[in-house]
Protein backbone atom coordinates (compact mmCIF):
# COMPACT_ATOMS: atom_id res chain seq x y z
CA UNK A 1 0.00 0.00 0.00
CA UNK A 2 2.74 2.49 1.00
CA UNK A 3 4.78 1.65 -2.08
CA UNK A 4 1.75 2.31 -4.28
CA UNK A 5 0.95 5.57 -2.48
CA UNK A 6 4.50 6.74 -2.94
CA UNK A 7 4.25 6.03 -6.71
CA UNK A 8 0.98 7.95 -6.95
CA UNK A 9 2.31 10.93 -5.01
CA UNK A 10 5.37 10.99 -7.23
CA UNK A 11 3.33 10.87 -10.45
CA UNK A 12 0.71 13.42 -9.42
CA UNK A 13 1.08 15.01 -6.02
CA UNK A 14 -1.58 16.98 -4.21
CA UNK A 15 -4.37 14.38 -4.27
CA UNK A 16 -5.83 12.60 -1.24
CA UNK A 17 -5.24 9.11 -2.61
CA UNK A 18 -6.28 7.35 0.60
CA UNK A 19 -9.81 8.74 0.53
CA UNK A 20 -10.49 9.45 -3.15
CA UNK A 21 -12.60 6.68 -4.71
CA UNK A 22 -13.21 8.17 -8.17
CA UNK A 23 -9.81 9.25 -9.37
CA UNK A 24 -10.62 8.69 -13.06
CA UNK A 25 -14.31 9.55 -13.24
CA UNK A 26 -13.75 12.76 -11.24
CA UNK A 27 -10.92 13.58 -13.66
CA UNK A 28 -8.34 13.87 -10.89
CA UNK A 29 -6.01 11.76 -13.06
CA UNK A 30 -6.12 11.51 -16.86
CA UNK A 31 -4.96 8.83 -19.28
CA UNK A 32 -1.40 10.22 -19.36
CA UNK A 33 -1.21 9.96 -15.56
CA UNK A 34 -2.69 6.45 -15.71
CA UNK A 35 -0.04 5.31 -18.18
CA UNK A 36 2.76 6.80 -16.07
CA UNK A 37 1.30 5.00 -13.03
CA UNK A 38 1.08 1.78 -15.06
CA UNK A 39 4.74 1.88 -16.11
CA UNK A 40 5.79 2.59 -12.52
CA UNK A 41 3.65 -0.29 -11.21
CA UNK A 42 5.14 -2.68 -13.79
CA UNK A 43 8.62 -1.69 -12.62
CA UNK A 44 8.05 -1.68 -8.89
CA UNK A 45 5.85 -4.77 -8.60
CA UNK A 46 7.33 -6.77 -11.50
CA UNK A 47 3.98 -7.42 -13.15
CA UNK A 48 2.87 -7.23 -16.77
CA UNK A 49 -0.11 -4.97 -17.43
CA UNK A 50 -1.88 -5.45 -20.76
CA UNK A 51 -3.86 -2.81 -22.67
CA UNK A 52 -7.02 -4.71 -21.72
CA UNK A 53 -6.23 -4.09 -18.03
CA UNK A 54 -6.11 -0.33 -18.62
CA UNK A 55 -9.76 0.38 -17.90
CA UNK A 56 -11.02 3.16 -15.57
CA UNK A 57 -12.34 0.64 -12.97
CA UNK A 58 -8.79 -0.57 -12.27
CA UNK A 59 -7.52 2.94 -11.49
CA UNK A 60 -10.40 4.60 -9.65
CA UNK A 61 -8.82 4.15 -6.21
CA UNK A 62 -5.73 2.83 -4.44
CA UNK A 63 -7.72 -0.28 -3.49
CA UNK A 64 -8.66 -0.95 -7.12
CA UNK A 65 -5.03 -0.62 -8.19
CA UNK A 66 -3.91 -2.87 -5.38
CA UNK A 67 -6.47 -5.47 -6.43
CA UNK A 68 -5.18 -5.32 -9.99
CA UNK A 69 -1.58 -5.77 -8.84
CA UNK A 70 -2.54 -8.77 -6.69
CA UNK A 71 -4.41 -10.38 -9.58
CA UNK A 72 -1.48 -9.87 -11.93
CA UNK A 73 0.98 -11.27 -9.38
CA UNK A 74 -1.14 -14.40 -9.07
CA UNK A 75 -1.33 -14.91 -12.87
Amino acid sequence: MNELLSILNKVKPGIDYVNEKHLVSDELIDSLDVMTIVTEICDEFDVEILPTDVVPENFESVEAMQKLIMRLQED
Binding site: M35, T36, T39, D43, L50, V54
Partner: protein, 523 residues
Protein backbone atom coordinates in the same frame (compact mmCIF):
# COMPACT_ATOMS: atom_id res chain seq x y z
CA UNK B 1 -24.82 12.43 -51.29
CA UNK B 2 -24.46 15.25 -48.79
CA UNK B 3 -26.26 15.05 -45.45
CA UNK B 4 -27.59 18.56 -46.07
CA UNK B 5 -29.02 17.83 -49.53
CA UNK B 6 -32.75 17.72 -50.22
CA UNK B 7 -32.24 14.25 -51.68
CA UNK B 8 -30.81 12.91 -48.42
CA UNK B 9 -33.23 14.67 -46.08
CA UNK B 10 -36.48 14.31 -47.98
CA UNK B 11 -36.12 11.27 -50.18
CA UNK B 12 -33.41 8.99 -48.82
CA UNK B 13 -34.06 9.43 -45.10
CA UNK B 14 -37.83 9.70 -45.57
CA UNK B 15 -38.08 6.54 -47.70
CA UNK B 16 -35.77 4.60 -45.39
CA UNK B 17 -37.80 5.51 -42.29
CA UNK B 18 -41.05 4.39 -43.98
CA UNK B 19 -39.53 1.14 -45.24
CA UNK B 20 -37.86 0.45 -41.87
CA UNK B 21 -41.06 0.68 -39.87
CA UNK B 22 -43.09 -1.23 -42.47
CA UNK B 23 -40.70 -4.18 -42.26
CA UNK B 24 -41.23 -6.90 -39.60
CA UNK B 25 -39.18 -6.12 -36.49
CA UNK B 26 -36.60 -8.87 -37.01
CA UNK B 27 -35.94 -7.93 -40.62
CA UNK B 28 -35.53 -4.18 -40.13
CA UNK B 29 -31.73 -4.41 -40.23
CA UNK B 30 -32.07 -5.47 -43.88
CA UNK B 31 -33.55 -2.05 -44.73
CA UNK B 32 -30.62 -0.32 -43.01
CA UNK B 33 -28.05 -2.55 -44.75
CA UNK B 34 -29.69 -2.13 -48.17
CA UNK B 35 -30.04 1.64 -47.61
CA UNK B 36 -26.44 1.96 -46.44
CA UNK B 37 -25.03 0.11 -49.46
CA UNK B 38 -27.28 2.15 -51.79
CA UNK B 39 -26.04 5.36 -50.10
CA UNK B 40 -22.43 4.22 -50.51
CA UNK B 41 -22.92 3.12 -54.11
CA UNK B 42 -24.45 6.53 -55.01
CA UNK B 43 -21.40 8.26 -53.55
CA UNK B 44 -18.64 5.89 -54.61
CA UNK B 45 -19.92 3.63 -57.41
CA UNK B 46 -17.61 0.70 -58.09
CA UNK B 47 -15.26 1.75 -55.27
CA UNK B 48 -17.73 -0.08 -53.07
CA UNK B 49 -15.48 -3.09 -53.72
CA UNK B 50 -12.95 -1.67 -51.21
CA UNK B 51 -15.61 -1.61 -48.49
CA UNK B 52 -16.45 -5.22 -49.35
CA UNK B 53 -12.79 -6.30 -49.20
CA UNK B 54 -12.48 -4.80 -45.72
CA UNK B 55 -15.74 -6.37 -44.53
CA UNK B 56 -14.96 -9.86 -45.86
CA UNK B 57 -11.34 -9.81 -44.63
CA UNK B 58 -12.16 -8.83 -41.04
CA UNK B 59 -15.13 -11.21 -40.96
CA UNK B 60 -12.95 -14.17 -41.94
CA UNK B 61 -10.00 -13.01 -39.84
CA UNK B 62 -12.10 -12.76 -36.67
CA UNK B 63 -13.59 -16.22 -37.24
CA UNK B 64 -10.09 -17.69 -37.76
CA UNK B 65 -8.94 -16.20 -34.45
CA UNK B 66 -11.99 -17.58 -32.72
CA UNK B 67 -11.24 -21.08 -34.10
CA UNK B 68 -7.70 -20.90 -32.68
CA UNK B 69 -9.01 -19.80 -29.29
CA UNK B 70 -11.70 -22.50 -29.19
CA UNK B 71 -9.25 -25.25 -30.17
CA UNK B 72 -7.05 -24.23 -27.23
CA UNK B 73 -9.95 -23.85 -24.77
CA UNK B 74 -11.24 -27.36 -25.60
CA UNK B 75 -7.98 -29.01 -24.42
CA UNK B 76 -6.86 -26.44 -21.87
CA UNK B 77 -8.07 -28.20 -18.73
CA UNK B 78 -6.56 -31.53 -19.67
CA UNK B 79 -3.03 -30.11 -20.08
CA UNK B 80 -0.20 -29.93 -17.56
CA UNK B 81 0.89 -26.40 -16.57
CA UNK B 82 4.03 -26.30 -18.75
CA UNK B 83 2.27 -27.83 -21.74
CA UNK B 84 -0.66 -25.43 -21.27
CA UNK B 85 1.69 -22.45 -21.22
CA UNK B 86 3.45 -23.60 -24.40
CA UNK B 87 0.16 -24.31 -26.21
CA UNK B 88 -1.26 -20.94 -25.13
CA UNK B 89 1.85 -19.13 -26.39
CA UNK B 90 1.60 -20.94 -29.74
CA UNK B 91 -2.13 -20.13 -30.00
CA UNK B 92 -1.49 -16.45 -29.21
CA UNK B 93 1.28 -16.39 -31.82
CA UNK B 94 -1.09 -17.72 -34.49
CA UNK B 95 -3.76 -15.21 -33.45
CA UNK B 96 -1.17 -12.45 -33.61
CA UNK B 97 -0.25 -13.47 -37.17
CA UNK B 98 -3.91 -13.32 -38.19
CA UNK B 99 -4.54 -9.92 -36.61
CA UNK B 100 -1.34 -8.57 -38.13
CA UNK B 101 -2.42 -9.79 -41.57
CA UNK B 102 -5.81 -8.07 -41.12
CA UNK B 103 -4.18 -4.81 -40.04
CA UNK B 104 -1.69 -4.97 -42.92
CA UNK B 105 -4.37 -5.65 -45.54
CA UNK B 106 -6.71 -2.91 -44.39
CA UNK B 107 -4.28 -0.23 -43.23
CA UNK B 108 -2.16 -1.12 -46.26
CA UNK B 109 -5.08 -0.42 -48.60
CA UNK B 110 -5.78 2.87 -46.83
CA UNK B 111 -2.11 3.84 -46.84
CA UNK B 112 -1.67 2.99 -50.52
CA UNK B 113 -4.74 4.89 -51.71
CA UNK B 114 -4.28 7.86 -49.41
CA UNK B 115 -0.50 8.30 -49.21
CA UNK B 116 0.98 6.93 -52.44
CA UNK B 117 0.99 10.37 -54.15
CA UNK B 118 2.64 11.99 -51.15
CA UNK B 119 5.16 9.18 -50.79
CA UNK B 120 6.06 8.99 -54.49
CA UNK B 121 6.36 12.79 -54.82
CA UNK B 122 8.79 12.93 -51.89
CA UNK B 123 10.81 9.91 -53.04
CA UNK B 124 11.05 11.33 -56.57
CA UNK B 125 12.08 14.75 -55.27
CA UNK B 126 14.76 13.16 -53.09
CA UNK B 127 15.91 10.93 -55.97
CA UNK B 128 16.23 13.93 -58.27
CA UNK B 129 18.12 16.07 -55.80
CA UNK B 130 20.60 13.25 -55.07
CA UNK B 131 20.73 12.04 -58.70
CA UNK B 132 19.76 8.52 -57.68
CA UNK B 133 17.77 7.84 -60.83
CA UNK B 134 14.72 6.72 -58.80
CA UNK B 135 11.38 7.61 -60.35
CA UNK B 136 8.19 6.14 -58.92
CA UNK B 137 5.36 6.14 -61.46
CA UNK B 138 2.37 8.46 -61.10
CA UNK B 139 -0.80 6.42 -60.51
CA UNK B 140 -4.40 7.47 -60.95
CA UNK B 141 -5.80 6.61 -57.53
CA UNK B 142 -9.25 7.43 -56.23
CA UNK B 143 -10.08 7.28 -52.53
CA UNK B 144 -13.28 5.46 -51.60
CA UNK B 145 -15.62 7.56 -49.47
CA UNK B 146 -15.02 7.27 -45.74
CA UNK B 147 -12.15 4.77 -46.03
CA UNK B 148 -10.29 6.50 -43.16
CA UNK B 149 -13.32 6.01 -40.92
CA UNK B 150 -14.51 2.49 -41.71
CA UNK B 151 -10.92 1.14 -41.80
CA UNK B 152 -10.35 2.26 -38.20
CA UNK B 153 -13.67 0.70 -37.13
CA UNK B 154 -12.74 -2.57 -38.89
CA UNK B 155 -9.22 -2.68 -37.44
CA UNK B 156 -10.62 -1.88 -33.98
CA UNK B 157 -13.01 -4.83 -34.34
CA UNK B 158 -10.31 -7.41 -35.19
CA UNK B 159 -8.02 -6.13 -32.43
CA UNK B 160 -10.89 -6.41 -29.92
CA UNK B 161 -11.46 -10.00 -31.06
CA UNK B 162 -7.73 -10.71 -30.73
CA UNK B 163 -7.70 -9.27 -27.21
CA UNK B 164 -10.78 -11.27 -26.26
CA UNK B 165 -12.81 -8.11 -25.60
CA UNK B 166 -15.35 -8.94 -28.32
CA UNK B 167 -16.59 -12.26 -29.66
CA UNK B 168 -16.17 -12.85 -33.40
CA UNK B 169 -19.38 -12.08 -35.28
CA UNK B 170 -20.80 -15.12 -37.11
CA UNK B 171 -23.48 -13.04 -38.82
CA UNK B 172 -21.97 -11.48 -41.93
CA UNK B 173 -24.94 -9.10 -42.36
CA UNK B 174 -24.52 -7.65 -38.87
CA UNK B 175 -20.83 -7.00 -39.39
CA UNK B 176 -21.46 -5.54 -42.87
CA UNK B 177 -24.09 -3.22 -41.39
CA UNK B 178 -21.74 -2.12 -38.61
CA UNK B 179 -19.05 -1.15 -41.14
CA UNK B 180 -21.32 0.46 -43.71
CA UNK B 181 -24.04 2.22 -41.69
CA UNK B 182 -24.91 5.32 -43.73
CA UNK B 183 -24.86 7.59 -40.69
CA UNK B 184 -21.21 6.83 -39.94
CA UNK B 185 -19.60 6.05 -43.29
CA UNK B 186 -18.95 9.60 -44.57
CA UNK B 187 -17.48 11.45 -41.60
CA UNK B 188 -17.64 9.02 -38.71
CA UNK B 189 -17.98 8.88 -35.77
CA UNK B 190 -15.53 5.99 -35.65
CA UNK B 191 -17.76 3.45 -33.99
CA UNK B 192 -16.79 0.46 -31.92
CA UNK B 193 -18.32 -2.90 -32.69
CA UNK B 194 -19.58 -3.37 -29.13
CA UNK B 195 -21.32 -0.02 -29.14
CA UNK B 196 -22.97 -0.04 -32.58
CA UNK B 197 -23.29 -3.48 -34.18
CA UNK B 198 -25.90 -4.90 -31.82
CA UNK B 199 -28.20 -1.89 -31.68
CA UNK B 200 -28.06 -1.29 -35.46
CA UNK B 201 -28.94 -4.94 -36.11
CA UNK B 202 -31.70 -5.17 -33.52
CA UNK B 203 -35.11 -4.03 -34.75
CA UNK B 204 -36.47 -0.93 -33.02
CA UNK B 205 -40.12 0.05 -32.55
CA UNK B 206 -41.24 3.55 -33.52
CA UNK B 207 -40.90 5.89 -30.57
CA UNK B 208 -42.38 9.40 -30.77
CA UNK B 209 -39.95 10.88 -28.24
CA UNK B 210 -36.88 9.42 -29.99
CA UNK B 211 -38.29 10.61 -33.26
CA UNK B 212 -38.75 14.22 -32.14
CA UNK B 213 -35.32 14.23 -30.45
CA UNK B 214 -33.83 12.99 -33.71
CA UNK B 215 -35.63 15.65 -35.75
CA UNK B 216 -34.45 18.38 -33.34
CA UNK B 217 -30.85 17.23 -33.64
CA UNK B 218 -31.09 17.23 -37.43
CA UNK B 219 -32.47 20.78 -37.39
CA UNK B 220 -29.72 21.98 -35.04
CA UNK B 221 -27.10 20.24 -37.19
CA UNK B 222 -28.49 21.85 -40.35
CA UNK B 223 -28.44 25.25 -38.67
CA UNK B 224 -24.77 24.87 -37.70
CA UNK B 225 -23.74 23.56 -41.11
CA UNK B 226 -25.85 25.67 -43.47
CA UNK B 227 -26.27 28.94 -41.61
CA UNK B 228 -22.87 29.15 -39.93
CA UNK B 229 -20.23 26.88 -41.52
CA UNK B 230 -21.19 27.44 -45.15
CA UNK B 231 -21.46 31.20 -44.59
CA UNK B 232 -18.11 31.33 -42.77
CA UNK B 233 -16.60 29.58 -45.81
CA UNK B 234 -16.99 32.82 -47.80
CA UNK B 235 -14.60 34.79 -45.60
CA UNK B 236 -12.27 31.87 -45.00
CA UNK B 237 -11.78 31.07 -48.69
CA UNK B 238 -11.24 34.76 -49.50
CA UNK B 239 -8.44 35.25 -46.97
CA UNK B 240 -6.83 31.80 -47.19
CA UNK B 241 -7.14 31.97 -50.99
CA UNK B 242 -4.72 34.90 -51.23
CA UNK B 243 -3.02 35.10 -47.83
CA UNK B 244 -0.32 37.51 -48.93
CA UNK B 245 -2.96 40.22 -49.48
CA UNK B 246 -3.91 40.33 -45.80
CA UNK B 247 -2.28 40.92 -42.43
CA UNK B 248 -2.99 41.91 -38.85
CA UNK B 249 -6.57 41.81 -37.60
CA UNK B 250 -7.90 40.35 -40.85
CA UNK B 251 -5.73 37.24 -40.53
CA UNK B 252 -6.74 36.88 -36.88
CA UNK B 253 -10.39 37.23 -37.90
CA UNK B 254 -9.97 34.62 -40.67
CA UNK B 255 -8.33 32.21 -38.22
CA UNK B 256 -11.17 32.62 -35.71
CA UNK B 257 -13.83 32.30 -38.41
CA UNK B 258 -12.15 29.17 -39.78
CA UNK B 259 -12.22 27.63 -36.30
CA UNK B 260 -15.93 28.43 -36.17
CA UNK B 261 -16.41 27.02 -39.68
CA UNK B 262 -14.71 23.68 -39.04
CA UNK B 263 -16.47 23.27 -35.69
CA UNK B 264 -19.94 24.18 -37.01
CA UNK B 265 -19.36 22.04 -40.10
CA UNK B 266 -18.11 18.91 -38.35
CA UNK B 267 -20.25 19.15 -35.21
CA UNK B 268 -23.26 20.11 -37.37
CA UNK B 269 -22.82 17.03 -39.56
CA UNK B 270 -22.41 14.90 -36.45
CA UNK B 271 -25.71 16.23 -35.09
CA UNK B 272 -27.42 15.45 -38.41
CA UNK B 273 -26.13 11.86 -38.36
CA UNK B 274 -26.94 11.41 -34.67
CA UNK B 275 -30.42 12.73 -35.36
CA UNK B 276 -30.73 10.41 -38.38
CA UNK B 277 -29.71 7.45 -36.21
CA UNK B 278 -32.28 8.40 -33.58
CA UNK B 279 -35.06 8.15 -36.20
CA UNK B 280 -34.27 4.41 -36.30
CA UNK B 281 -33.78 4.11 -32.54
CA UNK B 282 -29.98 3.94 -32.92
CA UNK B 283 -27.78 5.91 -30.57
CA UNK B 284 -24.78 7.15 -32.53
CA UNK B 285 -21.71 7.91 -30.40
CA UNK B 286 -21.04 11.55 -29.60
CA UNK B 287 -18.02 13.09 -31.28
CA UNK B 288 -17.99 16.51 -29.57
CA UNK B 289 -18.46 17.67 -26.01
CA UNK B 290 -18.20 21.47 -25.99
CA UNK B 291 -14.47 21.37 -26.88
CA UNK B 292 -13.94 25.10 -26.52
CA UNK B 293 -14.56 24.93 -22.78
CA UNK B 294 -11.39 22.84 -22.38
CA UNK B 295 -8.78 23.98 -19.92
CA UNK B 296 -5.89 22.08 -21.48
CA UNK B 297 -4.86 20.62 -24.81
CA UNK B 298 -5.35 17.09 -23.44
CA UNK B 299 -8.88 17.96 -22.41
CA UNK B 300 -9.55 19.58 -25.80
CA UNK B 301 -8.72 16.33 -27.58
CA UNK B 302 -10.95 14.40 -25.21
CA UNK B 303 -13.82 16.69 -26.27
CA UNK B 304 -13.02 17.26 -29.98
CA UNK B 305 -13.41 14.37 -32.47
CA UNK B 306 -13.70 12.15 -29.42
CA UNK B 307 -13.98 8.85 -31.25
CA UNK B 308 -10.70 9.42 -33.13
CA UNK B 309 -8.85 10.29 -29.92
CA UNK B 310 -10.33 7.26 -28.14
CA UNK B 311 -9.31 5.00 -31.05
CA UNK B 312 -5.71 6.24 -30.95
CA UNK B 313 -5.67 5.84 -27.16
CA UNK B 314 -6.86 2.22 -27.20
CA UNK B 315 -5.03 0.93 -30.27
CA UNK B 316 -1.80 2.98 -30.36
CA UNK B 317 -1.15 4.75 -27.05
CA UNK B 318 -1.80 1.84 -24.67
CA UNK B 319 -0.03 -0.92 -26.63
CA UNK B 320 3.02 1.24 -27.45
CA UNK B 321 3.32 2.49 -23.85
CA UNK B 322 3.06 -1.06 -22.51
CA UNK B 323 5.42 -2.64 -25.06
CA UNK B 324 8.51 -4.31 -23.57
CA UNK B 325 10.91 -2.08 -25.53
CA UNK B 326 9.21 1.04 -24.24
CA UNK B 327 9.27 -0.19 -20.65
CA UNK B 328 13.01 -0.87 -21.03
CA UNK B 329 13.45 2.68 -22.32
CA UNK B 330 11.77 3.99 -19.16
CA UNK B 331 14.03 1.91 -16.91
CA UNK B 332 17.09 3.10 -18.81
CA UNK B 333 16.05 6.75 -18.52
CA UNK B 334 15.35 6.33 -14.80
CA UNK B 335 18.80 4.87 -14.23
CA UNK B 336 20.87 7.09 -16.52
CA UNK B 337 18.94 10.38 -16.77
CA UNK B 338 16.54 11.17 -13.92
CA UNK B 339 13.64 9.54 -12.04
CA UNK B 340 11.24 12.09 -13.54
CA UNK B 341 12.40 11.41 -17.11
CA UNK B 342 12.20 7.68 -16.42
CA UNK B 343 8.61 8.22 -15.41
CA UNK B 344 7.54 10.27 -18.43
CA UNK B 345 9.73 8.74 -21.15
CA UNK B 346 7.51 5.71 -21.95
CA UNK B 347 4.43 7.94 -22.19
CA UNK B 348 6.26 10.56 -24.24
CA UNK B 349 7.56 7.89 -26.62
CA UNK B 350 4.07 6.44 -27.18
CA UNK B 351 2.55 9.89 -27.60
CA UNK B 352 4.89 10.56 -30.52
CA UNK B 353 3.21 7.77 -32.50
CA UNK B 354 -0.26 8.90 -31.43
CA UNK B 355 0.28 12.46 -32.70
CA UNK B 356 2.11 11.36 -35.82
CA UNK B 357 -0.82 9.08 -36.64
CA UNK B 358 -3.27 11.87 -35.80
CA UNK B 359 -1.44 14.24 -38.14
CA UNK B 360 -1.17 11.95 -41.15
CA UNK B 361 -4.67 10.57 -40.64
CA UNK B 362 -5.92 14.07 -41.48
CA UNK B 363 -4.11 14.17 -44.81
CA UNK B 364 -1.09 13.31 -46.92
CA UNK B 365 1.01 16.46 -46.68
CA UNK B 366 3.87 17.74 -44.53
CA UNK B 367 1.60 20.36 -42.97
CA UNK B 368 -0.49 17.57 -41.42
CA UNK B 369 2.66 15.96 -40.02
CA UNK B 370 3.51 19.38 -38.56
CA UNK B 371 -0.05 19.66 -37.21
CA UNK B 372 0.39 16.39 -35.31
CA UNK B 373 3.81 17.43 -34.05
CA UNK B 374 2.45 20.79 -32.90
CA UNK B 375 0.09 19.01 -30.52
CA UNK B 376 2.81 16.50 -29.59
CA UNK B 377 5.12 19.30 -28.46
CA UNK B 378 2.32 20.97 -26.47
CA UNK B 379 1.42 17.68 -24.77
CA UNK B 380 5.09 16.96 -24.09
CA UNK B 381 5.53 20.33 -22.38
CA UNK B 382 2.64 19.49 -20.08
CA UNK B 383 4.24 16.15 -19.22
CA UNK B 384 7.81 17.31 -18.74
CA UNK B 385 6.95 20.40 -16.73
CA UNK B 386 4.37 18.72 -14.49
CA UNK B 387 6.53 19.02 -11.32
CA UNK B 388 7.19 22.69 -12.10
CA UNK B 389 3.49 23.34 -12.67
CA UNK B 390 2.72 21.71 -9.32
CA UNK B 391 5.35 23.91 -7.63
CA UNK B 392 3.95 26.97 -9.41
CA UNK B 393 0.50 26.40 -7.92
CA UNK B 394 2.00 25.71 -4.51
CA UNK B 395 4.21 28.82 -4.46
CA UNK B 396 1.74 31.29 -5.96
CA UNK B 397 -1.24 29.98 -4.01
CA UNK B 398 -3.41 30.25 -7.13
CA UNK B 399 -6.68 28.40 -6.65
CA UNK B 400 -6.89 26.06 -9.63
CA UNK B 401 -10.67 25.90 -9.42
CA UNK B 402 -11.30 29.64 -9.13
CA UNK B 403 -13.41 31.10 -11.95
CA UNK B 404 -10.88 33.70 -13.19
CA UNK B 405 -8.13 31.07 -13.37
CA UNK B 406 -10.41 28.58 -15.13
CA UNK B 407 -11.31 31.31 -17.62
CA UNK B 408 -7.63 32.05 -18.21
CA UNK B 409 -6.94 28.34 -18.86
CA UNK B 410 -9.88 28.14 -21.29
CA UNK B 411 -8.66 31.24 -23.13
CA UNK B 412 -5.08 29.92 -23.31
CA UNK B 413 -6.30 26.60 -24.75
CA UNK B 414 -8.54 28.43 -27.21
CA UNK B 415 -5.61 30.49 -28.52
CA UNK B 416 -3.37 27.41 -28.88
CA UNK B 417 -6.13 25.52 -30.70
CA UNK B 418 -6.68 28.44 -33.06
CA UNK B 419 -3.00 28.46 -33.99
CA UNK B 420 -3.37 24.74 -34.72
CA UNK B 421 -6.40 25.52 -36.91
CA UNK B 422 -4.40 28.11 -38.86
CA UNK B 423 -1.77 25.45 -39.57
CA UNK B 424 -4.51 22.98 -40.52
CA UNK B 425 -6.17 25.34 -43.00
CA UNK B 426 -3.13 27.07 -44.56
CA UNK B 427 -2.16 25.63 -47.94
CA UNK B 428 1.35 24.70 -46.84
CA UNK B 429 3.87 25.17 -44.04
CA UNK B 430 5.47 28.29 -45.58
CA UNK B 431 2.00 29.82 -46.03
CA UNK B 432 1.20 29.08 -42.39
CA UNK B 433 4.47 30.67 -41.26
CA UNK B 434 3.76 33.75 -43.39
CA UNK B 435 0.21 34.10 -42.07
CA UNK B 436 1.28 33.56 -38.48
CA UNK B 437 3.91 36.30 -38.67
CA UNK B 438 1.54 38.62 -40.56
CA UNK B 439 -0.92 38.51 -37.64
CA UNK B 440 1.47 40.75 -35.69
CA UNK B 441 1.71 43.34 -38.48
CA UNK B 442 -0.48 46.33 -39.27
CA UNK B 443 -3.88 45.34 -40.63
CA UNK B 444 -4.33 45.27 -44.40
CA UNK B 445 -7.68 44.45 -45.97
CA UNK B 446 -11.11 45.61 -44.87
CA UNK B 447 -13.47 43.37 -42.93
CA UNK B 448 -16.34 44.23 -45.27
CA UNK B 449 -14.37 43.20 -48.36
CA UNK B 450 -13.76 39.60 -47.37
CA UNK B 451 -16.61 37.95 -49.24
CA UNK B 452 -19.29 38.73 -46.64
CA UNK B 453 -21.54 41.74 -46.27
CA UNK B 454 -22.84 43.22 -43.00
CA UNK B 455 -25.86 40.90 -43.09
CA UNK B 456 -23.62 37.83 -43.39
CA UNK B 457 -21.37 38.98 -40.58
CA UNK B 458 -24.35 39.75 -38.32
CA UNK B 459 -25.87 36.30 -38.95
CA UNK B 460 -22.50 34.68 -38.29
CA UNK B 461 -21.98 36.59 -35.05
CA UNK B 462 -25.54 35.86 -33.83
CA UNK B 463 -25.18 32.17 -34.75
CA UNK B 464 -21.83 31.89 -32.97
CA UNK B 465 -23.41 33.50 -29.91
CA UNK B 466 -26.26 31.00 -30.03
CA UNK B 467 -23.76 28.12 -30.23
CA UNK B 468 -21.97 29.59 -27.22
CA UNK B 469 -25.21 29.82 -25.22
CA UNK B 470 -26.14 26.24 -26.13
CA UNK B 471 -22.63 25.15 -25.11
CA UNK B 472 -22.89 26.93 -21.74
CA UNK B 473 -26.30 25.34 -21.05
CA UNK B 474 -24.93 21.89 -21.90
CA UNK B 475 -21.91 22.51 -19.67
CA UNK B 476 -24.35 23.33 -16.88
CA UNK B 477 -25.94 19.93 -17.43
CA UNK B 478 -29.13 21.32 -18.95
CA UNK B 479 -30.62 19.06 -21.63
CA UNK B 480 -32.18 21.49 -24.09
CA UNK B 481 -34.12 18.77 -25.90
CA UNK B 482 -35.72 17.67 -22.62
CA UNK B 483 -36.66 21.28 -21.89
CA UNK B 484 -38.23 21.69 -25.33
CA UNK B 485 -40.09 18.39 -24.91
CA UNK B 486 -41.61 19.64 -21.65
CA UNK B 487 -43.03 22.82 -23.23
CA UNK B 488 -46.71 23.11 -24.24
CA UNK B 489 -47.27 21.83 -27.76
CA UNK B 490 -47.84 25.30 -29.23
CA UNK B 491 -44.45 26.57 -28.02
CA UNK B 492 -42.76 23.37 -29.08
CA UNK B 493 -44.00 23.63 -32.64
CA UNK B 494 -43.23 27.33 -32.77
CA UNK B 495 -39.61 26.49 -31.93
CA UNK B 496 -39.50 23.78 -34.63
CA UNK B 497 -41.06 26.12 -37.19
CA UNK B 498 -38.70 28.94 -36.17
CA UNK B 499 -35.66 26.70 -36.52
CA UNK B 500 -36.88 25.46 -39.89
CA UNK B 501 -37.51 29.03 -41.14
CA UNK B 502 -34.08 30.16 -39.86
CA UNK B 503 -32.40 27.43 -41.90
CA UNK B 504 -34.46 28.15 -45.03
CA UNK B 505 -34.14 31.94 -44.79
CA UNK B 506 -30.62 32.26 -43.40
CA UNK B 507 -28.95 29.17 -44.88
CA UNK B 508 -25.92 29.99 -47.05
CA UNK B 509 -27.11 28.41 -50.29
CA UNK B 510 -28.34 29.54 -53.67
CA UNK B 511 -27.09 32.58 -55.58
CA UNK B 512 -23.91 34.09 -54.15
CA UNK B 513 -22.98 31.00 -52.16
CA UNK B 514 -20.98 28.01 -53.31
CA UNK B 515 -21.70 24.40 -52.37
CA UNK B 516 -19.45 23.51 -49.43
CA UNK B 517 -18.78 19.80 -49.03
CA UNK B 518 -18.52 18.59 -45.44
CA UNK B 519 -14.92 19.36 -44.42
CA UNK B 520 -14.28 15.96 -42.86
CA UNK B 521 -15.78 13.92 -45.71
CA UNK B 522 -12.51 13.95 -47.65
CA UNK B 523 -10.50 12.22 -44.95
Amino acid sequence: MSYTSYFYLLFFLGALVILYYLMPLKRRWLVLLGGSYFFYWLASGKLIVFLLITTVSVYLGALAMEREQKAFDSVRKSLEKEERKARKAAMMRRKRHIVLAMVLINVGLLAFLKYYHFFSANVNALGNSLNLGIQLPALKLVMPLGISFYTLSAVGYVIDVYRGQTAADHHFGRLALFLSLFTNITEGPISRYGQLAGQAFEGHRADYRQFTFGAQLILWGLFQKMVLADRAALLVSTVFGSPSDYSGGVVILAMLVYTLQIYADFAGCMDIVRGSGALFGIEITRNFHQPFFSRSIGEFWRRWHMTLGAWFKDYIFYPVTLSKTNMKLGRWAKKHLSPHLGQVMPTAFALFFVWLANGIWHGAAWKYVAYGMYYYVLTLFGLLFKPMIFLFYKKTGIQKDSRPWQFFLILRTFILVNIGMLLFRADSLPVFAGMFVSMFRKTTGHWLELGMDVHDLAVLAAGALLMLVVGILREEGICIRERIASLPIIWRWMIYAGAFCAIVLLGAYGSGYGVVDPLYANF
